[in-house]
């Protein structure tokens, strides 16, 4: 760290913001120094996004003050913030998929010559900017065709076109592979070395000491504490959840029972190929009742595709090879067929494909069991409410009211609702895709415990996750997928680096 300059780059004091009846920020102080990478941690709903939205001009505070280099500042809109040298990379990268990389980098700031777009200058500058962040990306390629990791790099390059003083990054690593995270951190350090202050929002505690200098932890709209990034993880967790956290992962379970899912040289041939859709190509694995099996692999290895195809949700296509559910051959030709065979799926995108966000918790929960709660097609409010209350209790959804609107719940509670909804359908094989994505630490532990309980009750669980510690900590076995093929299998608790090596091994070495 540099010596503390006389005035901090950014200083926010007593920031207050209220949304309707909800006090999102209750007097928050936040400091950022020049050249500092400052991690901002907090569970969902703690106020991180609200604070950063105020900094980036998306919303205006109700009270408090903000000074940049000592000058009191208030941004009425994001353009004003950008003009002041504050750039934000939002979690939903604000890139236009249909436009190419160059056009995205200069969107809204296109250089012109005599009123005409200066393509040549744009492309030259685009190459320079990408080179500056160490990304080797074709500037003429549409952004929609890039991997998430590469899109992230484009977003960083774009933000740097106007981030002269402050760069805010909202969960930049959520969708990146280990190698991509390393590269991104390198780039962040270079940017900081130039004197830019970086606010780095993340859910991944283990990343904090790797990249940040200082940590501010928010809880319930207040600052729970400020610590050096080298503070022990347990201390950060205590600040985050307000209490010491018990063991994150539950103890591994009892005896595995009958085989629920058996795949042997299984292959799924979609009738129509889709770009970027890695069909299961040669998959051999087994999931037994009472067992939690992990599915590891880098982005694009075909984890989500395998789960989707097993759930009959991959569109028209056909399975070949051995595909057995509970010892019987299964065709899994449609979602309803797969559900009939006892398969359930929790998607990786709870807001996009998991929940009716504007509907109540209760109505979401019974979605998979509408047949059961509507004899003769008439909804039985009594049955519905009983089931919903049981599920809410079993998964400790908060608030525990079936009438609460799902979209207003925290990410962790939304995830519990998606999980509970699927469990109500009484599957015997439960497929979970990124079951804790965007969920805070406290809720993660609860979700892991629920998943283990389900396995102990005899479900077979297959989990795809990009978070290696999660797979190794929770699962009984971890199967590694690469380019749609199973290439290795490890016992739970195996060495993270060995699994990563198997997942990232280059294609040439495989037969």
């Amino acid at each position: 760290m540099n010596a503390e300059p006389p005035r901090p780059l950014l200083s926010m004091r007593g920031v207050v913001k209220r949304f309707g009846g909800v006090q999102a920020l209750r007097g928050v102080d936040f400091d950022l120094r020049r050249g500092e990478i400052h991690a901002l941690l907090g569970e969902n709903g703690a106020g991180k996004s609200t604070l950063m939205n105020i900094l980036s001009g998306v919303i205006e505070p109700d009270g408090g003050e903000m000074r940049i280099e000592g000058v009191a500042t208030r941004f009425s809109d994001p353009r004003a913030a950008q003009a002041a040298g504050v750039a934000t990379i939002f979690q939903e990268l604000d890139l236009v998929p249909g436009l190419d990389v160059t056009a995205n980098l200069f969107l809204g700031r296109e250089p012109t010559r005599a009123g005409v777009l200066d393509r040549g200058a744009m492309r030259r500058a685009a190459r320079e900017r990408l080179a500056a962040v160490g990304a080797d990306i074709d500037v003429d390629q549409p952004v929609g065709e890039l991997s998430v990791g590469r899109r992230q790099m484009v977003a960083v390059a774009k933000a740097l076109t106007y981030a002269s003083r402050i760069l805010v990054m909202d969960e930049p690593t959520a969708a990146l592979t280990a190698a991509e995270v390393d590269r991104l951190f390198g780039v962040m350090r270079e940017i900081a070395a130039r004197g830019v202050g970086i606010v780095y929002i993340s859910h991944r505690l283990e990343e904090v000491p790797r990249v940040a200098d200082r940590v501010t932890v928010l809880r319930d709209g207040l600052v729970a504490g400020v610590a050096p990034a080298s503070a022990p993880q347990s201390e950060l967790v205590r600040l985050l959840v307000g209490r010491p956290l018990a063991e994150l992962y539950p103890k591994r379970g009892a005896q595995a029972g009958e085989t629920v899912l058996k795949l042997e040289r299984a292959r799924f041939a979609p009738r129509r190929g889709r770009a970027g859709w890695q069909a299961p190509d040669d998959v051999s694995l087994e999931v037994r009742a009472g067992e939690i099996v992990g599915l590891a692999g880098i982005m694009g290895a075909g984890r989500t595709e395998l789960l989707t195809a097993l759930y009959g949700a991959a569109g028209p296509g056909r399975w070949s090879g051995v595909v057995q559910i509970e010892g019987r051959p299964a065709r899994l030709a449609s979602i309803r067929a797969a559900r009939g065979d006892g398969v359930g799926l929790v998607t990786d995108d709870r807001r996009g494909s998991g929940l009716l966000l504007r509907d109540s918790v209760g109505r979401n929960l019974v979605l998979t069991v509408l047949e059961r709660v509507s004899p003769f097609f008439l909804m039985s409010r009594a049955k519905e409410s009983t089931l919903a209350r049981q599920a809410i209790q079993a998964f400790d959804v908060r608030p525990p009211q079936p009438e609460a609107i799902v979209g207003a719940l925290s990410g962790g509670n939304q995830q519990k609702v998606v999980l509970a909804k699927e469990v109500l359908g009484e599957p015997r094989l439960l497929l979970l895709d990124e079951p804790t994505r965007g969920v805070d630490v406290g809720a993660k532990g609860e979700i892991y415990a629920r998943i283990r309980t389900l396995a102990e009750r005899g479900l077979g669980v297959l989990i795809a996750s990009s978070e290696m510690p999660e797979l190794l900590g929770l699962c009984d076995r971890v199967v590694v997928l690469r380019k749609g093929r199973t290439v290795a299998e490890f016992a739970g608790g195996a060495d993270e680096h060995a699994v990563l090596a198997a997942a990232e091994q280059s294609e040439d070495t495989s037969p």
């Binding site: 949304f19 207040l222 309803r336 109505r363 509408l370």
Partner: protein, 350 residues
Amino acid sequence: MNDAAPMRAAPAAPPATARRFDAFAIAVRFQSVIGLILVTLGGIVFSPRRHGHILFLAPDNMANIVRAVSETGIIAVGMTFVIITAGIDLSVGALLSLCSVLTATIMTSGGYGLAPTILFVLACGTAFGGAQGLISNRFRLEPFIVTLAGLQVARGLALVISGNQYINISYGQGPGLAPPVFAILGDRLFDNTVPVATLVFVVVAAIATFTLNFTRFGRYVFAVGGNERAARLSGVPVSLVKVSVYAITGLVSGIAGVVHAGQFNFGSANDGTGYELTAIASVVIGGTSLFGGSGSMIGTVAGAVMLGALANILQLNNVNAALQLLATGAIIVLAAVLQSLVRRREGLGR
């Protein structure tokens, strides 16, 4: 940050998860009912008076209002299902016209009996709507386009069948005459107070309210509109639901067509123009979101009656038709703005 602890002890704001509808949200939720009450009060205040009587409240005038809205109201009720699934049906007015022509043609060609004729017409309407749903679903076309085409097709069929003539219905026994009981659709019951067309509207609305709120199908409709992908992944038969809602608008258009023929004693290929827009307006004013996933049948009914009452007041005061259109437009925008405000307060975007 050692000031954190005492501040935490300060009286706790309601946690983010316990968001409840506040009074404003509740008001917007029943905006069309409140709107109807306001319009009614306005009607009383601004109504011309004769011999001290408020013309707006005269039984005849009231009956006129609810009779005038019955056809578009019946259609709006069906449209509510479609719009909750985030769809739209532009063919309803033309289909009403086609069904009125069919009714009149079959009645006057004689010998088929009242019930079979009506059932046949309703089946035609249902099939027409269902076909649009199938096409839109099978070929993944926007319902806007498919039903826009459907509007032209229905209007064209009506013109061909009617030869662009009014098909007049005469009553009596014998060939070419309709059963006299059919004319009841133009009458009023209960001491000449309640129009029969309005009764049909009430019955249709009651059945629809029940279906939307108390059956599995109703829940499917909300789910498909709320998040189609989530509904599909939860095992909801999404395609079936999407076809069914268009069959429903077809059915209600058929019912409205029969009512139209019965009220006016003719079938015409040129009637029902613009009904689709009035119906959509009623639904939107009623608080149903064009983005799908939320809506209320009672809201739609109140919205339809409110539009009728508003038109009535303006007519009673001899306000010209152009200003009536302006007023309707303003109300639609107001309703949409209110809903958008609520969405923003809920923090659910858009």
